[in-house]
Symmetry: C2
Subunit: 167 residues, 2 copies
């Protein structure tokens, strides 16, 4: 995993180089584990709270991922730069709260973030906010960053460093 | 899951409406399960073989996902339309083969698919091809398809159907 940078501590920091991936209205790929032990992956809206460091998701009590995280609170969240998908943020975390959102206020906040306007709230009565506390953050470097790092390493050591990473 | 269509059979079909997501050089989010039972999610290159119906990934024997799928062959693959991320294909599958790729030939094939040219093969000596056999395919409908379906349902029943789906 030569192009990944791992951090593991009580409150893992978001590297400034990848902070935009949390700020922009991108879709996250949320991975959970099903009751039968197989993984599940879904595209999700999210909101990052820089103060508390948590990720918030809107969800409903009728869906697979709700049942999954009630049983197995550990999740993985992948947020890739659409312009350069190997520049990504991989957040390992734990669901620390599931809060009812019966007015749909949080869903409306995410509608604004993602669509710039507020419309209908689907399944309002079943709406919840899922709070994920990051436990570990891994960043993937984009092609340009990789080239730059390889050149720098080659200049330091006089050798050609191999490419690596996810693909 | 009102906006999802589930299919479960021996060889799940790819709906023509979502076939382009397998044909285009998009990045897949591959979810696996770690030894400790937590999920993992990574962006991945892939190749779909329409004849056999399998998904092929290039990977190496030195990475987390390799160890994960050797122990737990069930995976989930999410491929979203970058222009409309809620239009997605969620493939549940099983790793049915891991084949060495010591010449890097398959990696080069994917370089061509994704970058239009062939360059260095990273970690060539550790390269493998991971073959995933889909066991179930779920599609997510984009906003336009959802609106259309809601209008059609409303016209049929004389009522307004609620929005739904992943977000």
């Amino acid at each position: 995993m030569s192009d990944e940078v791992e951090r593991e501590d009580a409150a893992p920091a978001v590297p400034p180089s990848h902070r935009d991936l949390l700020e922009r209205p991108l879709y996250a790929c949320l991975a959970t584990v099903r009751e039968d032990g197989a993984p599940l992956a879904n595209p999700m809206w999210f909101l990052w709270e820089p103060g508390s460091g948590v990720l918030l998701f809107t969800h409903t009590t009728t869906r697979h991922n709700y049942r999954n995280v009630r049983r197995e609170p550990r999740v993985a969240v992948l947020i890739s730069d659409p312009e350069e998908p190997l520049r990504y943020l991989q957040v390992h975390g734990r669901v620390e709260a599931i809060t009812p959102d019966p007015t749909g206020a949080f869903h409306e906040q995410l509608q604004l973030r993602y669509h710039g306007r507020v419309g209908e709230v689907g399944e309002r009565e079943a709406r919840v906010v899922i709070t994920v506390r990051p436990t570990r953050i891994v960043t993937g470097q984009g092609i340009r960053e990789r080239r730059h790092a390889r050149r720098a390493a080659a200049a330091r050591t006089g050798t050609v460093a191999p490419a690596g990473g996810t693909v």
